[in-house]
Every structure is written in C-alpha cells, then in structure tokens.
Symmetry: C2
Subunit: 402 residues, 2 copies
Amino acid sequence: MDLQRLYSANMKNMKRSAIRELLKLANKPGLISFAGGLPDPGVFPLEAISQITAEVLAQEGDTALQYGLTAGEPRLRRALAKWGAAQGLNLTEENVIVTTASQQGLELISKMFLDPGDIVIVELPSYLGGLNAFTSYRANLVSIPLDDEGMKVDLLSDKLKELQGQGKMPKFIYVVPDFQNPAGVTMSTERRRQLLDLCYQYDLPLVEDTPYRELRFEGQAPPDLLKMDDKGHVISLHTFSKILFPGMRLGWTIAPREIIDKLELAKQSMDLCTPSFTQALVRRYMERGLLEPQIERIIGVYRKKRDAMLGSLDAYMPKVPGIHWTRPKGGLFLWVTLPKGIDTQKMFAQAVDRDVAYVIGSAFCADGSGENSMRLNFSFPTEEEITEGIRRLAETVKENLA
Amino acid sequence: MDLQRLYSANMKNMKRSAIRELLKLANKPGLISFAGGLPDPGVFPLEAISQITAEVLAQEGDTALQYGLTAGEPRLRRALAKWGAAQGLNLTEENVIVTTASQQGLELISKMFLDPGDIVIVELPSYLGGLNAFTSYRANLVSIPLDDEGMKVDLLSDKLKELQGQGKMPKFIYVVPDFQNPAGVTMSTERRRQLLDLCYQYDLPLVEDTPYRELRFEGQAPPDLLKMDDKGHVISLHTFSKILFPGMRLGWTIAPREIIDKLELAKQSMDLCTPSFTQALVRRYMERGLLEPQIERIIGVYRKKRDAMLGSLDAYMPKVPGIHWTRPKGGLFLWVTLPKGIDTQKMFAQAVDRDVAYVIGSAFCADGSGENSMRLNFSFPTEEEITEGIRRLAETVKENLA
C-alpha cells in the first residue's frame, strides 16, 4: 500500500523527536540521567491508593468501571472547583473539564483553535509537549525569549505590533509561568500583569500551563494568571502528574464556560471520556484531604534534590564566563547555559561516555536556537546520583572548554 | 473575547449531537432506556480487579503510577499480541499500539489520514463515534448501505469506480463487521473477501472496528478481516470496553508496523501515553487467564437479554408490512425499521411519554436518511425491563400506525 499518498498534511508535519534518538544512547547501565521529567516514585502514596481502590470497587464499582461523562465525573469536577476556590480562584464546576492529563488539554486547545499556518506565541525555550501539539496542527510558532522573570513582555509587545501590521494575528499565547519547563524560571507579577494587558489589547486567549505551581520550595507565589484575569481570557491547564503521580493520566482545564463546552465537544471524538475508575480514586483521595500533605511531602523531597543539584553545580562547574544556570524556587528542572561555541548536541555522546545524560537545549527552542544549553531534571535521580552526575557533567564541560 | 474569530475550521464543523438533546428528555424516573450503549455492570468482575489492584500497587506500584511508553506497556502489548495469535492472527507486539479505548484509535486514524474534504467510505448506518471523529477533521462521508450480510459490496464497487472517474479516491473504508453498531448485522465471509479485494484493487486502507466480535451468542464467526488480509491493508480497532468494562478506557489497534509507528507519533501529542496503572491491571487480568471466562459470562447474560428482546418484539410489535428488525447473533444492539412515513424523531416524545427511549436511526446515517428506524440496546436493561419496555414501544408504534 502506498501510504505516503494517504497521510494527511498534519501527519507529514509530525517528526520523530531528535531527543528520542539521543536518549536511546543513554539507555546503558550505570548512567545517571538528568534527561527525563519523571517524578520520584519514592513519594507515590501506594498504600493510600490501594486502600481507596478497594473502597471504590466495593462501594461504587458499578459506576467506576462504567462509561462516564465527557466533561468528567461530576463529583471530581466539584472537588477540583473547590480546590481552585481554596486558592482564590473564582470558578464553579462548569469552568472545569477533566482531561486525560494536561497533554490532552494541549491537543484539545490545538484542535479547537488552530488552522494550518496559524501563529502561536510561545516562550523561548518552551515545553516540548506543547510545541509538538501545536505543530501537529501545523501551527507557525513564534518564540519570545525568557529571562529570570519569565517571557520578555516588551519583546512580545513589539512582536504583536509587527504581526498586527502584517495582518497575521496569533491564535493564542502559550506560557508555562511557574517553574517553567525547561528553564525553571517563574514569571514575575509585573510581567503577568503586562502579559494579560497585551492579551486584552489584542483580544487574544492566554494559555497558562502550570503543572508545577504547587511545588514551591520557598518564597511567595505570584498570583495565577487565571486569578488575575477578570475578562475571561485565560485557559489554565492543570495535572495530577507532578503533585500526585502521572500513571493515571489525570488533568483538568479551567476556562470560561463557552470554552469548556467546545473542549467537551472536541474531547468526545478524542476518547469519549477520561477513565471513570481513576477519576473516582483521585476524587476520594482529594475529598479525604490527602492531597495537601502529599504535596508537602513532595516539596520536602524535591527541595533537597534541587539543593543537591545547585550545590554540586556551584562546586564542580568550571568558573568561566558564559557558564550559568537558573536557580529554580520549585518544580523539577533547571537550565544550564554554556559558553557560545559549545554545542550540547555534539557534547552529548561525550557525556554518555562519562555515564551522564541531559536534554539538549535546542529541543525546546522553536526557532532552533539553544545549541549551547541543556535542561537538567532533579526530581528523579537520588541526591547521591545528582552529586556524582553533576561531577561527571562538569568534567565533560571542562573537556569541551579545553 | 471574540471566540468565533478564533475557532479553527475543524471546531466550527463539530456539532452537538441531536441525540444528546433528545436524551435529556429521557432523563426521568421509571423510564426504560434502550438508548444507551452501556455494558451491564452486573458482570463487572469487581473482586478480581480489587485483588489485582492490591497486587499491582504492592509489587509494581513504582512503574504502574509512573509515565509509560507511548505505544503502551510492553508486557500488555505482548499479552495482546498473544491474544491475537491465539485467534489465528499473524502478529507480534510491534503490530500493537495501546490506545485510550478504541475511540482514540478512531481519532488517531483520522488525524493520520484526513485532510479537509477527504472522502471516507462508511456503512449506512454506521457507528456515531466513528462518524464524529471523521467529521471533526472535516472528512466528506460517503455512505454505502448495509443489508443482513453487511456492507453491499456491489454498490461499493460502483461507487469506487465513480469516485475514481472523478479523481476523488477515498482515504480509507470504515466498517464495523461484527454485530454492527447500530444495525446488529455481521458481514458474511464472501462480502469480506470482496471488500478486501476492492481495497487491494484501489490500494485503500480498510479500518475494521470490532468491539463486539468476541460476544457471539451462537453460530460460527466469519474470519477477521485482519486475518484474511495478506497484503497489510487492514487497521483493526479493539477495546476492552465491551469484553471487560469501559471505565478504564483501554483499547488497542493492530496494524502493519509502519502504521503503528505513525499512530505512536500522533498519540504522543494527544496524551503522551495511556495510563500505566490500568494497563498493568488489565495485563495481569489477562495473564491470569481471567478474560476468557469473563467473556463467556458476558455472552451468557447478553444472550438471554437478546432473546428477551427478540421474543418481546415478536410478541408485541404490530404485524404490518414494513415493520421489521435485525436478529443479531451477538453484540449489544438491534435495529428496527418502521413503515415509511413514521418519523422516529417525531415519535420520540411519545415514546418518552410512555416511559421508553431509543436512539433515532437518522443519528447513525451520514446521509441524513434512516428517519423511519431506530437502534435498540439490550445489554443494559434487565430482562424484565426489556419485556416491559418493548411492550411500551409497541404501543407507541401502534399509536403512530393508526
């Protein structure tokens, strides 16, 4: 069968990620990987989930194993609305749709808004799963650089003016405002305000993807974009993947009612509904008040790992101009920049030779830049592995400086 | 925010289903519904699942609650390949991708093949979830009528010749060959052979959606299209929703390796992976040999319900020309045709007044026909409800004949 003739233009635009090919190299015993984005399984609340599962099957098995509603189990939607309200958000369950983790939220938003060639504004660097979802609908990604306060909103302002002049307004702006993946930075309150004002000025939706927000190790959180928004422009993506576990693929999206209705419609052909079974489990877990202490536990573990990584970078990395890294106050990742001229893709094989791995920075850069940078994950490896892995990585960098 | 300006052409093409609006009417106490497509929760193996969940969390909780591979948990893929091989299929685990139930398979295939305006050949009537997935990518649906032996392949042959003449070849052909939803009919072996030959002649993929195949109450099954295909044209969609339960949203697609690779790529942005947790549960359930006896149990229950429905239709329906119904040898549904001039959509309110509901036939007909037909489900109501519900329905029909 001649398949090339049959594939859609969308399919032809999807590419196997270069990371995957690189990471195949990293699949060797003894290697310390900072490449993944996995939570630490040591914090998974196995016993509580085991007990709750037995209860769900005994008390509501008939509905938990049955088809559910496309927008989500009503009691979970209520629990999620209550959770949001406790954080100061103004919402009801009708502003919430349960998704098969927040990746599905990204796909739904892409399908809802994007025609081929449509522009999406993204951060530079940005979350790979977001970029992939947008390009799978053949969006044209326009990148705005980050600094330690998040997206450089002055550059965004210039870009929007330019695009308007060309009659090419974007469909939406996509940001990961809290402990950004991959950069680890958090958008300041002032930038958030300016970003929202630009969205109002140009009548644009703002997609806030915030899987790590609850995992703050220190300091005061700036307000959610969703909370600051009083005009209904923000679509806010959430997930249990980092604050509980990823293995049930449960997330939720908060948005104005009209947008939730459209997401529900698009979700219907996508998977009919998210599993009723796992929704019942997590709803009970929340109702029992177990989520808050679980998040505290995760914060305690990840803070120590973050400290181990920053401490090791300070201790082992060569002190030369051009080498720096972000100092995240939460989340799972930090971002290392090396002197110009060092190509982390070329360096990757050497790192793997020294039994350490990372993700190349260019993978997160929609404009193909970032060749002298890399993302490091600190949630999955142990503190000992972090120390030893950063030592190996520093050796690799020194070799490249020489 | 002016959302109409922002929605994609795909989104604008998606419509809220008329059925949903009708079924809101049916949400009243005492009403007997033949409208849904729900399995009987009385057959859900709650205790076995409860026990297996405890084992999974105790023995492999770290991986079961972690991210998994996009193509599915390797051990489940192997178990599914083994299950297929036991049914005579020639496959390995690399021909299998786990999906978030078979609805996701339909979405993935749509995204993989369909550009706006592309033609998909479907049955008349056909499965609504399939039609919705295809139209959500703005496919142009071309319907070929069914009879008691399945799709009328002679009409298909004429249509393909006509389309070829117009230079508008379809992207694929979509069939539900076994105990079709909604019609309840099964495609004969001869028709299957002819259908495959047409796919070879025109170099077209054949999408076989077969959620009910295992639920055969009597007689000999014709071979799977997948099994008959020796040229790699068939993409075969499967699900645990009807042979186990729908509440974990677990399905799988079998196809040539190249197609599985593309489905995996498209799935990555859709949900990264299907829940590891539920995959581990169902894999253990299969490995323990529990699925075969479970299917036998379901067959026993549904056969009695089918018998109750056919017996009641024979007993209560008016004996006038033009009234007939299919006599399915398995599955969950049968299809009733009323004399021309009776509009089941208009009749629906009267049926609900008599406390009985169905799905209007036109909902399943891509060409808008089917106004004098309806789909009845027999898996969910009890035998007593079936008898009483068919009595009520027959009264409603008599009222309309008068």
